[in-house]
Amino acid sequence: MIASLLAQAGDWTSPSIDWAALAPEIVLAIGVNIILLLDLQLAETKKWAIATITGFVLLGSFVAVVVLAVTGDGARSLFDGRYVVDDYALILKALFLLAAYVVVLLSQTELEEGGYYQGEFYVLLVCSVLGMVMMASARDLVSIFVALELLSIPAYMMAAWNKRNRKSNEAGIKYYLLGVFASAVLLYGMSLLFGATGSTKLTDIGAALLDGDLIGLDVVAVVFVVCGFAFKISAVPFHQWAPDTYEGAPTPVTAFFSVATKAAGFVALMSVVFIAFPGADGVYQPLIWVMAALTMTFGNVLALRQTNIVRMLAYSSVSQGGFILMPLAFAGEPGVGPAALNAVIVYLIAYAFMNLGAFAVVIAVTRKTRSGEISSFGGLFSYAPGLAVAMTIFFASLAGIPPLAGWFAKFNAFKAVLDAGTTAAYVLAAIAAVNTVIAAAYYMRVLRVVWMDEAPDGDTSPVKSPAPVVAALAITVLGTIVLGVLPNLIARAGAIDALTGAFAG
């Protein structure tokens, strides 16, 4: 037995690696080490430089992604198609890097003023981003799993970053326990999938599942894998960790979780659904349908009663996850696949801008008010009209009011669902429509406080926002408005058919 396995190993030859295609990952990997080493050398007073260097590392990786996108001639396939750099991967890599950059901007002052461990924080952040960037290209169960863990393990530590704060500790352990549980479920599903199809490569799995009827093992494997990812994207009923972790973790980290790690979960889910599961659409479609409907409804209803803004944003992020999930429930319908893929990507991009922006405003305001209660935002318009207007833009965008990015994303998601044209699609669209109204209620409630109420303690001294936070706000406001007014920019993401082409051919 062992001998036969070893005999297989004997055929192994070193693969020829397209190093250029890996440039973004390599930049990040080298960057992690540079930051780690520099942190040891730098004096305490010069630690601020770490954030700048991290920014440059992310920027360098971003440049590599852009260069690949511009010069790329179609998909670059590495390791026998187990690691693919195509347009789909590049767009998402760019999204992760941009989101991480905004998070670095937001973290800078928070870390300096809180006296946290700056160097280590950025090392972990870049590690996590590296995992995400890998995730976008991973086309094999093992590399998906490794990428997922590479992005999750640093995230556990970042959640518990404020280690003298009991809430932060609690956030960390809750995130950790449920995260590891999810990994185990996912991994078990993967092992069954491997057993059922005989391969860990997504395209092979897709071919095997398409070939012939599904057996019980296939069904169980698919369900386990989808549920495993459901934890990462905090879909109901696997969402319980999200509000607690979001509230307890430092706010910039929460922004990172709610945007980047969630997006990474979606990316993995998309790769699996579109490449490996086209033969199993009868299994995952109803599952995702139910999760999407539950996620948006529960997230919204619970968000309605929150008084803490971060917690409200946490539940809102859960419910937004439901909207992102919605098109995937019809990914297997004939002709809907590309539209669904496009809808999810567009939503992820729009969501990244508006949600990061919302957190940026919260960070800027709570620096002054030192309170996360929604009521403490009263009178914001009177003493910080700029922040109030920015907040209005982000929340209106989250509520889906045109002509902002969130509106276009919602529209796109609805369109993908209704393209399916089945009764299930109409029902889900109706549920989503009702949910947009509920969501509007709590977003508008915050805006009402911002615009109409008086400052709770009568303190109307202006808010001084540090330059990095202002920069983060500028990026996100710009993104939210531009994507809404000129949706052509991201509507073109519909041209990504490389991924869907993988199974169509």
Partner: protein, 103 residues
Amino acid sequence: MIAVIEPTWYLLLAAMLFGIGAFGLMVRRNPLIMFMCVELMLNAANLTFVAMATRLNDINGQTAVFFVLVVAAAEVVVGLGILVSILRRRPGATADDLAELKG
């Protein structure tokens, strides 16, 4: 030559281990035991990988296990770290005590 055990039995064993782990994670309240339950679940997946690799005569399943082992080790290190920092501030805390955040 040792009598060959059918891979099906390994799969059954793995399923049981996974079930025990999942059950334990839900009912036990000592964070350390909960860690152990998670380990049980991860290793159930490993066992399945190996058993399947044997049945399919495919080395990929075996390599997957190496990756999982490494990742799991890293995971436990982080988890224990977080746990230690909690127990320092609140000795003897159970999962039920960690309920400051709710709603």
